[in-house]
């Protein structure tokens, strides 16, 4: 086995390679543009010369004698007939030409100025300036030099250099063209000692090397040819490009040697320049990209590296890995939030290496003896796929050899056993926007073909089950497993660092279930109570209440069973009506929650209590009792709430939006009135009697007034509808308890959809002076400008439907724009922050060991441990110290920071999810 050699890289220096070096490292000179002869053998000194490496199995490299995969490949070279400018250095060449003398080659600075630069550079080095700072300094120096009209050394007059993109230099007012040869001669004249101020280290680089006289030919391993099914050979794009270079190079040499007219030679020279330029970068602006015969642009060197599909983003920042699985996800409320259900088929492929020692050898022997596919029965049996001997040899375990391999098992072997219950794995859903997108779960092997997890874990992954897929990674070392358990386990991530509150908690039906379990304290007979509790672990039932000789348990008693015995809390429910004077315990809506000594005394449990992002009880248990206790609470809560909702039964349908005839009449009436009011406004606007608002034009005043009237119309419709939608209505229960939906959604379904807007204004665009041909030109009335008087349930008429689509489109466009932008911003942030670390002395440092922050976050506070961003929760401290007396002090009007953040981020993440509609981001070259 190969042992890793660990050495520390002190520094890496990039420089230019000289033509001599290109020739020296070249395995062969390439002179002919033909690649293979008629028999299909590579031609010597052609682009596929066997000296350049091997790509065909069985053959040996003519340079090093190794076979495929052992031979790294070897460079060749092309001697260019005439020098050619390297596009990649075009900016540097221009800078050098501008800041040096056209006659004597010296830098256009006096000795004092050069010395000043040297001192500044040294000082910068001393004070920790990096290469970027140094580059800025040289840029300044070059700028100073290029502004000199006369050489301070030979007094020669300087001319202006112009760059004709992409690679032609012109000089002086007449635009006299500088050939690459002339450019090279000028660069050759720059003395070594003048290069340092210009940012070039003469020890490793000479500027004339930026004008090529020899071109390195990459090994064939870099540009392998593929044999198609038809037997035809298909060459790599780079090979195609090199063929072009060779052809033109050949013709140029012949013409030049034959003394052809200057014009022809120059044309060929320029053509060679074109081919070499596109060989480096086929997207150089100013020249057409070289194309394949099919019309597809060739992928040359720069294209291999750049962009999303380039080497950096696709192969270096993102890699494909082993020991991972991907499949569709589905819910399972009976799993703990810490668990993930893994299908048997996946578990048989994924393996964990186990080192054989004297304690586990017997156990591992039985596993190995089962082979890779033990019979499926009642109990899932774990098999073994591979055994690795102490000398590093891998033995594939098959059903045939399982017995023998098991007998031969020795200490110090490694057994790659299949995944089993309790293994720690990482579970991930893209896009991985925050650290909760990848958490550690414990495995539960299950039948079926999907990954399963508890619904409470949907929000951190932003997952739903409409076909979402997720990835799973099996950890391979003890260190990784320990780290994952301590840092990445789901229960350790219940409190989000995004806002100091829980991100994992009850959602949807859990909240509804909790509402029905606790609201107005329903009674359950022993059958019902035990059914609800049957999914829970063993619990000691409290004494029942007795009515008419029958034993009953109340919902609040049942809920109290899952609370810690000494738990205290006081807060208001989601359903709270925000009465002017809170009646507290006597609240007629049962929305004042008071928990004392682990007993729910009054109030309704809903989203404010156990919901994700605002659940007070969750938050408090997580903080005061630790992650293990909240995990238990959430697990038990899930089961209890589902028991409660299944006991009662729950459904919603279109008739939940039914309102009485007189109510819809009332809404219609009010809408009509509003439309008439707008008509009146328009009339007074036309007559000029509309009173102008300060700072607004008459037209703007009209718009504001109309919006106000129509906004009121929708509110009124919502109010009227809401009056008839009470807490006996399932949809209202969901909206009010915070399970799903809002009252606005409901009033749009039952009442009226309301005014549609684009950029916050009434609709105005479409046809000339009108929105649709259904209206008169210049119609400013309500219907003509996007007012939807109907509700979703009553149905929209065609014009309304069209207006509604216009309003909806704006949202989609916003989404598309925001997706690509936030994705780009996030990548930039990540690359800026990825290697910062918190050091032992409390400072945040980068890899160069320079301080970025003197203390983490400039306050040393972990946002995940804050109370909605605040370092301590004073109310909580008061409550703890003062007990009941604190109630008077408590500000129940809680700051709802967490809530706002949570909803905002949710929207943001939903936007990001729709990745398909993204625009290409601006590309700033290298990563």
């Amino acid at each position: 086995m190969m042992k890793g050699v660990s050495k520390r890289i002190g520094s890496i220096k990039f420089s230019c390679v000289s033509p001599e070096e290109i020739r020296k490292m070249s395995a062969t000179k390439v002179i002919t543009a033909d690649t293979y002869d008629d028999d299909g053998f590579p031609i010597d000194m052609g682009l596929m010369d066997p000296h350049l490496g091997v790509i065909e199995p069985g053959l040996r490299c003519k340079t090093c004698g190794h076979k495929v995969d052992e031979c790294p490949g070897h460079f060749g070279h092309i001697d260019l007939a005439m020098p050619v400018i390297h596009v990649g250095f075009i900016k540097d060449i221009k800078r050098l030409l501008e800041s040096t003398c056209r006659i004597c080659g010296r830098i256009l600075l006096t000795a004092e100025q050069i010395e000043a630069h040297r001192i500044a550079s040294e000082r910068m080095e001393e004070l920790g300036g990096d290469t970027i700072d140094q580059k800025l300094l040289t840029k300044e120096t070059s700028k100073d030099a290029s502004s000199k009209p006369i050489c301070p050394h030979c007094s020669a007059e300087q001319m202006k250099i112009k760059l004709d993109k992409p690679t032609t230099f012109r000089e002086g007012d007449d635009g006299h063209k500088l050939t690459p040869k002339e450019v090279r001669e000028r660069l050759e004249r720059i003395p070594d000692e003048d290069l340092l101020p210009l940012g070039i280290d003469p020890q490793t680089c000479r500027p004339e090397w930026m004008v090529l006289t020899a071109l390195a030919v990459p090994p064939v391993t870099v540009r392998p040819s593929i044999t198609l099914d038809s037997g035809d050979r298909s060459e790599d794009d780079l090979t195609h490009k090199l063929v072009d270079v060779l052809r033109i190079n050949q013709r140029l040499r012949e013409n030049r040697d034959a003394g052809a007219p200057q014009l022809i030679v120059e044309d060929l020279w320029e053509l060679l320049q074109y081919h070499v330029t596109t060989y480096f970068d086929n997207q150089t602006s100013g020249i057409p990209p070289a194309r394949h015969r099919s019309g597809r642009p060739l992928k040359t060197l720069v294209q291999r590296l750049k962009g999303k599909e380039g080497r950096f983003r696709s192969n270096l920042s993102g890699k494909r890995v082993n020991f991972s699985a991907r499949t569709v996800i589905s819910p399972d409320p009976l799993l703990s939030i810490n668990e993930v259900g893994v299908p048997i088929t996946a578990a048989r492929e994924l393996t964990v290496p186990v080192h054989v020692n004297e304690h586990n050898i017997d156990f591992l022997r039985t596993l190995v003896a089962r082979g890779p596919s033990p019979p499926e029965g009642e109990e899932h049996l774990v098999g073994v796929n591979y055994v690795i001997r102490s000398d590093g040899r891998r033995i594939r375990v098959t059903d045939r050899n399982a017995e023998t391999v098991a007998e031969g098992l020795e200490l110090d072997y490694t057994v790659e056993r299949q995944l089993m219950d309790g293994d720690v794995v990482l579970f991930n859903r893209q896009p991985s926007l925050h650290r909760m997108s990848m958490m550690a779960h414990t495995v539960r092997i299950m039948p079926g073909k999907t990954f399963r997890f508890n619904l409470c874990v949907c929000p951190p992954y932003n997952a739903d089950f409409d076909g979402d897929e997720m990835n799973l990674h099996v950890l391979q070392s003890d260190e990784a497993r320990a780290e994952a358990r301590i840092l990445m386990a789901v229960q350790e991530n219940i409190l989000s660092p995004r806002y100091g509150g829980p991100i994992i908690g009850a959602i949807h039906d859990h909240v509804t279930g909790a509402y029905y379990l606790t609201h107005d304290n329903p009674k359950f007979d022993s059958m019902q109570a035990l059914t609800i509790l049957s999914k829970l672990e063993h619990k000691t039932l409290v004494d029942p209440i007795e009515i008419d000789g029958e034993k009953y348990w109340t919902g609040k008693q049942l809920f109290s069973l899952v609370l810690p015995p000494d738990f205290q809390a006081i807060f208001k429910s989601s359903i709270c009506q925000n009465c002017d004077q809170c009646k507290k315990e006597d609240c007629e809506f049962d929305s004042y929650v008071k928990i004392k000594d682990g007993k729910l005394l009054c109030g309704t449990i809903d989203a404010k209590a156990i919901g994700n992002s605002k659940g007070k009880i969750l938050d408090k248990i997580a903080r005061d009792y630790g992650s293990e206790r909240v995990r238990q609470f959430i697990d038990e809560c899930t089961r209890l709430c589902l028991g409660a909702i299944m006991n009662r039964g729950f459904s919603t349908g279109i008739d939940d939006e039914d309102i009485p005839e007189e109510a819809s009449l009332q809404i219609r009436e009010f809408n009509k009135e509003s439309v008439e009011k707008v008509d009146k406004l328009v009339e007074s606007y036309r007559e000029g009697t509309l009173e102008q608002m300060p700072g607004r034009s008459l037209r703007e005043t009209l718009e504001v007034e109309a919006m106000k009237v129509l906004g009121k119309a929708r509110d009124e419709a919502g109010r009227v509808a809401g009056k008839h939608l009470g807490m006996e209505n399932s949809a209202v229960v969901m909206a009010k308890s915070g399970a799903r939906g809002s009252m606005l959604n409901l009033s749009q379904m039952a009442g009226a959809v309301g005014q549609q807007a684009v950029r916050g204004e009434r609709l105005s665009r479409g046809y000339w002076n009108r929105t649709l041909p259904h209206f008169k030109k210049g119609d400013l009335g309500a219907e003509a400008k996007g007012f939807v008087a109907n509700s979703y349930k009553s149905g929209l008429n065609p014009t309304e439907f069209f207006f509604h689509s216009m309003g909806g489109r704006e949202g989609l466009v916003d989404t598309a724009v925001r997706t690509s932008r936030s994705g780009y911003m996030q990548r930039r942030l990540i690359s800026a922050l990825e290697d910062l670390k918190l050091t032992a002395d409390g400072t945040i440092r980068n890899t160069a060991d320079t301080i970025v922050q003197f203390r983490y976050g400039e306050d040393g506070v972990d946002p995940a441990r804050t109370v909605q961003g605040k370092a301590i929760d004073l109310d909580d401290v008061f409550a703890e110290v003062l007990g009941d007396d604190a109630e008077l002090l408590l500000q129940l009007e809680e700051a709802s920071i967490g809530e706002d953040y949570a909803t905002l981020e949710k929207d943001e993440m939903e936007f990001i999810e729709e990745e398909e509609v993204s625009f290409e981001e601006p590309d700033f070259g290298g990563e």
């Binding site: 004070l127 920790g128 003197f854 203390r855 306050d859 506070v861």
Partner: protein, 87 residues
């Protein structure tokens, strides 16, 4: 310089306090933090804050240290040191 004299940025409520450290103070800070000058965050000589200090102390060379005291909601007050560099 005239434009600097007309408005002192350090008097703005959103600009943190800047103090120029003497060489002795600077050395004390460095030894307390156990770092060398090059490991500090930087501030350019052209920074408006430095220009105000230059009005008081005269030209400030590269390599000087500036102490910046920020107000913080969570930490009340937070002190950072920056190294003056060219620019």
């Amino acid at each position: 310089m005239a434009d600097i004299l007309t408005f002192n940025v350090l008097e703005h409520s959103l600009v943190p306090e800047h103090y120029l450290l003497t060489d002795e103070e600077a050395d004390q800070v460095l030894s307390k933090l156990r770092i060398t000058r090059d490991q500090l965050p930087k501030i350019r000589r052209t920074d408006p804050g430095i220009k105000v200090l230059e009005n008081i102390y005269g030209p400030i060379d590269e390599g000087k240290l500036v102490k910046i005291v920020r107000k913080s909601e969570t930490a009340e007050e937070f002190v950072v040191y920056r190294l003056v560099i060219r620019g």
